[in-house]
C-alpha cells in the first residue's frame, strides 16, 4: 500500500491520540443494541465533541440575542461570536477574506445559491455545465434545474476504473460553451479525491467557473480554496464535528459582488423603499433573515477542535485506517468487492463495498445488531451507482475518532453476514 500524500507537503505532523480524542465524544461511550457503538458513518454525519456541545449550551444559557440588530450588550456579544466563526472558517479553508464566507443551512443550500443566483444571471441557452460522474445529487440536481430553466445542457465528465476523474476526457469536453464545472472534491461513495487545482486551471482557460462540493473534503483534508483555484466552495458543518443546520459557501469576492441575492428580506438590504431596495454588501447580501446563530457559534468550537489537532494529522490518521480497512476486508472476505482506488494518496476515509449476492441493507442490518453503524443504499448518488453497475452499496466511513479495532469489529460483523448468507454467497453472482 502506498501511503505517500501527494496532496500535502511532507512535514512532521503528530499522530492523533485517538483514545484521548474519543473521550471528547460522549456518544462514543453509548451502547447500541447491547454493544459498544462502532460508528462508521461519518460521511453521512460526524459525531460531536463535548467542546461543540458545550458552546451550544453556553450560547443558549448565557449569550442568546439576535445579531446585527439591537445595540444592547448581549446582541453585540452574540454578533461578535457569530462573526468570529466566520473568521475562523475563512482561515480554516484558506479564504482571502471572511467577507467571502456565507453561512447557509448546508452544502446543498450553498450549491443551490450558486446555481440559483450566479447561474440564473450568467448561464444561457446553448451553454454547457460539466459535472463529474462522481457527483452527489447536491451538485447535480441544482444544475439540472438551471439547465432546464435556461436551455443549457449538462455534460458528464467520466471517471476511470479506479473512480478517479479521467483528466484527458475532461479536457476534451471543455470548450467555449462551458460555463460551469461542478466537481465533488471527495466522492461520498468512492472516497476518491478530484484533481481540483488542475481541473480549475483547465476550466479557467476556457472562461468557465469552477464550483466545488467540499462536503466530504472540508472535514478531512488540509484545505486552501486559493490553492485549489476554484471559484466557489461549499461545505456542511455537521460533517466536520459541527451542529446540523449550518453550511457555508465560499466564493470569489468579484463574483459574489456581481451576483443578485438568493433569498431576500431582512438583514440583506441596504435601503428599502416601497417599490425597490438596495442590497447590503457581502456577506450580508446572502444571509437573509435571522441566521442559525447558535449553531454557527457552536461550529466555531468544532473548527477550533480540528485546528488544534491539525488537519495534516487528521488526514494522515485517515489514510492509515483506510489502508488498514481495505487490506483487512480484502484479505478476510473473498466475496467482497471494494469500489474505488486503493491508493490512499488520492482517497479519503470512505470504503464502499458489496458482498456477492447480499443486499447492502441486509449487511447493514446484521452489523447494526452488533452496534456497528454503516450506510447502505445509493448514498444520494443514483447515476454513479449505474456506472458502478450495482443497485446499491454498503459504505463504511472513518473519521479522526475511529480505531483499527473498529475495522476489526466491522470485519467480525461481516463474518456474521457471511454465516447468515453463506449459501447465497457461494452461488454465482446474481
Amino acid at each position: 500500500m502506498i501511503i505517500t500524500d501527494k496532496t500535502a507537503p511532507v512535514t512532521e505532523h503528530p499522530s492523533l491520540d485517538v483514545d484521548a480524542i474519543r473521550r471528547d465524544f460522549p456518544i462514543l461511550a453509548t451502547q447500541v443494541n447491547g454493544h459498544a457503538l462502532v460508528y462508521l458513518d461519518s460521511a453521512a454525519t460526524s459525531q460531536k465533541p463535548r467542546q461543540m456541545i458545550d458552546a451550544l449550551v453556553a450560547y443558549y444559557s448565557g449569550q442568546n440575542a439576535n445579531i446585527h440588530r439591537a445595540a444592547h450588550s448581549l446582541a453585540s456579544r452574540a454578533t461578535e461570536l457569530y462573526e468570529t466563526t466566520r473568521q475562523k472558517l475563512a482561515r480554516f479553508i484558506g479564504a482571502p477574506s471572511p467577507d467571502e464566507v456565507i453561512f447557509t443551512r448546508n452544502s446543498t443550500e450553498s450549491l443551490n445559491l450558486v446555481a440559483g443566483s450566479w447561474g440564473t444571471a450568467n448561464v444561457h441557452a446553448g451553454d454547457e455545465i460539466i459535472v463529474t460522474q462522481a457527483e452527489h445529487h447536491s451538485n447535480l440536481v441544482p444544475w439540472q434545474v438551471l439547465a432546464q430553466a435556461t436551455g443549457a445542457s449538462i455534460v458528464v465528465a467520466p471517471i476511470d476504473a479506479h473512480g478517479l476523474v479521467d483528466l484527458d476526457a475532461y479536457r476534451a469536453l471543455l470548450s467555449q460553451r462551458t460555463k460551469v464545472v461542478a466537481i465533488t472534491h471527495m466522492s461520498n461513495v468512492l472516497g476518491t479525491i478530484a484533481p481540483v487545482a488542475e481541473m480549475s486551471r483547465l476550466a479557467h482557460a476556457v472562461g468557465a467557473i469552477v464550483v466545488v462540493d467540499g462536503a466530504q473534503s472540508a472535514p478531512h483534508l488540509p484545505l486552501s480554496v486559493q490553492s485549489l483555484g476554484c471559484d466557489f466552495f461549499a461545505l456542511s458543518a455537521h460533517k466536520m464535528l459541527g451542529p446540523t443546520g449550518v453550511g457555508a459557501l465560499w466564493g470569489r469576492r468579484e463574483l459574489l459582488d456581481a451576483m443578485p441575492p438568493f433569498l431576500t428580506g431582512g438583514s440583506m438590504i441596504g435601503h428599502v423603499d416601497w417599490d425597490r431596495s438596495t442590497w447590503a454588501p457581502i456577506p450580508q447580501k446572502f444571509e437573509a433573515g435571522t441566521p442559525n446563530i447558535a449553531d454557527v457559534i457552536a461550529f466555531g468550537a468544532s473548527i477550533d477542535y480540528l485546528e488544534a489537532l491539525g488537519m495534516e494529522s487528521v488526514r494522515h490518521h485517515e489514510q492509515e485506517i483506510t489502508a488498514y480497512a481495505i487490506a483487512t476486508l480484502r484479505e478476510r472476505h473473498p466475496a467482497i468487492t471494494i469500489y474505488g482506488t486503493d491508493d490512499t494518496s488520492v482517497r479519503g476515509g470512505v470504503v464502499t463495498f458489496n458482498i456477492r449476492n447480499v443486499h447492502p441493507h441486509d449487511i447493514s442490518e446484521i452489523l447494526d445488531e452488533r452496534g456497528i453503524a454503516i450506510r447502505a443504499g445509493q448514498h444520494c448518488a443514483h447515476p454513479l451507482h449505474k456506472i458502478l453497475g450495482t443497485g446499491a452499496t454498503a459504505r463504511a466511513s472513518f473519521y479522526l475518532y475511529n480505531l483499527n479495532s473498529e475495522v476489526d469489529a466491522l470485519s467480525e460483523g461481516l463474518a456474521q453476514v457471511e454465516t447468515v448468507f453463506r449459501r447465497v454467497i457461494d452461488r454465482p453472482a446474481r
Binding site: Q378, A392, R430
Partner: protein, 155 residues
C-alpha cells in the same frame, strides 16, 4: 447457523436463495415498479388477469432478502386468485406488517407469517411491502385495461 437470526429466519433465506416466479410476464396486462430510493431496492411486478382469475404474476429486479422473499411469497399467494381475494391478501399482509388496517382472518398466512418480524423495524416495513404495493397498483391497472375497449390494450 447456531443462533437463528430473528430477522433472517430460514424460511426467508430459503425464499431469497430460491426465488419463485422471478422474471417478466410476457404480454403482461400491467407492470408496476416499486422502489425505495434510499436503499436502492427496485422491483417490477408484472401480471395478467384472465377472466376473473389472476395469473401469471411475476416479479423482477433487486431488493434486500426481506424484499425479495416477500415478492416471491406475494406471487404464490395471489396467483390463481380472484381480484377480491388478492386484494384481501394485500390488506392482510399490510395489516400484519404495519399493525394498521384490518386483516382477513380467514386467510392462512403460512410462510408469509415470517414477514411479521419487520413490524418492529420501521426501516424494513417498506422492504417487506414493496412487491405487495406494486402488485396492488398493477392489479388496478390491469382491471382498467380490461374495462377499456379491446383495441387500446397498450399497457
Amino acid at each position: 447457523m447456531t443462533d437463528q437470526n430473528p430477522l433472517y429466519q430460514d424460511i426467508i433465506l430459503e425464499y431469497y436463495e430460491y426465488p419463485r416466479n422471478r422474471g417478466r410476464v410476457e404480454d403482461a396486462d400491467a407492470c408496476c415498479q416499486g422502489n425505495n430510493p434510499s436503499c436502492g431496492d427496485d422491483l417490477t411486478v408484472s401480471l395478467k388477469v384472465d377472466q376473473a382469475t389472476i395469473g401469471p404474476v411475476m416479479w423482477d429486479g433487486h431488493a434486500c432478502a426481506i424484499g425479495e422473499a416477500s415478492a416471491s411469497m406475494m406471487t404464490e399467494a395471489v396467483t390463481s386468485q380472484s381480484a377480491d381475494t388478492a386484494r384481501a391478501w394485500v390488506k392482510t399482509v399490510r395489516a400484519m406488517i404495519t399493525g394498521r388496517g384490518d386483516a382477513d382472518e380467514t386467510l392462512d398466512l403460512g410462510d408469509i407469517e415470517s414477514l411479521r418480524v419487520v413490524r418492529n423495524r420501521p426501516a424494513r416495513v417498506k422492504c417487506a411491502l414493496l412487491a405487495w404495493e406494486a402488485f396492488d397498483e398493477a392489479l388496478t391497472l390491469a382491471e382498467a385495461v380490461h374495462a377499456r375497449p379491446r383495441e387500446s390494450t397498450d399497457a
